[in-house]
């Protein structure tokens, strides 16, 4: 059932703008930048906005720390959701009765710098734990754009490789199928290697706390694209990669 119309969203924007005049700025939420990253030197980019909101309320998100860059917003979930609007670089959301996941893309004007992607989630205020346990259907899971020139990378503590990870890295999909489909062979980096450390620092920017194991996607130029937890099965991984 559609909760709101576009005009309702615009009305909320107008009301929200008036109400916010003279009010305290929304809290700043750090998206996870780590000052100790050895090889990744970034300006701190954050999303400003609330982390919890009641259904029907207006949520306003704005980027911070994106000088000399363009930016855009994307809704990651719910999949079928259009009660939002971009205005003057801000994202206005009419909060539905479920969590909303957004991605802020920051594209530096300097072509030599890499595109940044900041993920942010707004939870429903007052939602019970029971509601939280309701998991989205597999079809609703966001997929990651995975190109043939990209590299899928596992970062792990090899001394603690689990049976699930072992099944994945010894599977036909991992060892032969990806290559035969025209993709690069997936890479494995131990967390104590130089590459492993770099991936862990970069993953913190994507909402992962650096806990291994996790999977990352790197493009052919060595730019970090995405990171996510290791799926439980190869079929689930194929879904995440959109294959």
């Amino acid at each position: 059932m559609k909760l709101f119309s576009k005009s309702f969203v615009l009305m909320l924007i107008l009301v929200g703008s008036i109400a916010s005049l003279g009010a305290n700025p929304p809290p700043m939420v750090n998206a996870g930048w780590s000052p100790s990253a050895p090889r990744l030197v970034y300006t701190e980019i954050t999303v400003k906005g609330v982390e919890n909101a009641k259904p029907g309320s207006l949520v306003v998100l704005s980027p911070d720390g994106i000088e000399d860059s363009r930016h855009s917003w994307d809704i990651r979930f719910p999949i079928k959701f259009d009660e939002y609007q971009e205005e003057n670089g801000k994202l206005f959301i009419a909060m539905p009765n479920e969590s909303v996941g957004v991605t802020l893309f920051v594209i530096p004007n300097d072509n030599g710098k890499q595109i940044r992607k900041i993920r942010y989630t707004i939870e429903v205020e007052g939602k019970s734990e029971k509601d939280d346990k309701v998991k989205p259907e597999p079809d609703d899971k966001p997929t990651t754009k995975f190109n043939k020139s990209d590299y899928l990378v596992l970062i792990e503590e090899s001394s603690e490789r689990t049976p699930d990870v072992a099944k994945l890295v010894n599977s036909k999909f991992w060892l032969t199928e990806l290559k035969s489909l025209g993709f690069n062979r997936p890479l494995i980096n131990d967390k104590d290697s130089e590459q492993g450390k770099s991936f862990i620092e970069a993953a913190k920017l994507f909402g992962l706390n650096g806990k291994v194991p996790f999977l990352a996607i790197m493009d052919k130029d060595g730019s970090f694209i995405d990171a996510f937890e290791v799926p439980k099965s190869t079929d689930e991984l194929k879904g995440v990669l959109g294959l």
Partner: protein, 270 residues
């Protein structure tokens, strides 16, 4: 010491492993308790699992020829496989180079422990045709030494029980073990298992997989005696018939992870 075996066709095969005065290792032992047998079997029997025999076919089989470089070859070829399993390109590494670093420039064989320590600390040079059948340090160049630093096993550890070895191989790691090659070692049964051949250990081989045959854990050995040995260079070993006695004198090893190489065409995170 080097020990020669002559098969029924008159072909001679060389061994080349030294017996330590006492069982010792300078490589870390596997810090984690092994999986239980059921977990190991679950991994081995996973229908989606790729067998190492299918991944590393005939092109991967090497022949150490007339020198006692089995330990160098086993370590170098284990590192090759470990690199490819980590997603890197296949670079043929020089077993002769590794052997020359751990034999005091004499063709007298080498110690299992020395090979694994060298490949994890200093690396193994890529194979060049001029390396063939060489074993003295002076046979290799400064360029070889420099290149070797690009190819290291950065996570090597010792294993000392059947279940530790099976756990590591089931997880996808590659190892080096000691066997005692006798004439019986030349014969395989109809399941591909090597005939019982026990002793203190005179030959090093790599193992890159494990499977269950007749309820028994069987370790898939890739020997360094060319395709004419066994089943296209391979055979299955068991703890009871091949590894238990050599293990009383030697720690075995597994390579968990390898160094990355910025020059091999795979990008590094910027």
């Amino acid at each position: 010491m080097n020990y020669d075996i002559i098969d029924s066709n008159g072909l001679t095969y060389h061994t080349g492993m030294l017996l330590p005065v006492e069982k010792t290792t300078r490589v870390s032992m596997y810090p984690k308790v092994s999986f239980d047998r059921n977990t190991v079997e679950g991994l081995i029997n996973d229908k989606d699992r790729v067998k190492s025999r299918d991944l590393f076919g005939d092109d991967w089989v090497y022949n150490q020829g007339n020198i006692g470089s089995c330990n160098g070859c086993a370590g170098a070829k284990a590192l090759e496989r470990s690199r490819v399993k980590s997603g890197m390109d296949h670079v043929v590494l020089s077993g002769e180079y590794l052997y020359s670093r751990i034999n005091d420039s004499r063709d007298i064989g080498s110690m299992l422990d020395d090979g694994m320590e060298w490949l994890s600390k200093n690396g193994v040079a890529p194979f060049k045709s001029r390396h063939s059948q060489k074993y003295r340090e002076r046979d290799f160049t400064a360029e070889d030494v420099r290149d070797a630093a690009r190819y290291k096993g950065i996570e090597c550890y010792g294993v000392d029980t059947e279940l530790e070895l099976a756990t590591g191989l089931a997880l996808g790691f590659v190892g080096v073990v000691a066997v005692h090659a006798t004439n019986a070692f030349m014969n395989l049964d109809n399941q591909g298992r090597v005939q019982r051949s026990q002793g203190p250990g005179n030959h090093a081989v790599l193992v890159d997989d494990v499977r269950i045959i007749d309820g028994e854990l069987c370790f898939d050995m890739a020997n360094s005696w060319g395709l004419s040995y066994g089943d296209k260079g391979r055979g299955y070993l068991t703890w009871k018939n091949h590894l238990s006695q050599p293990n009383s004198n030697h720690y075995f090893y597994l390579i968990r992870a390898t160094s990355t190489d910025s020059e091999d065409g795979t990008p590094e995170l910027q």
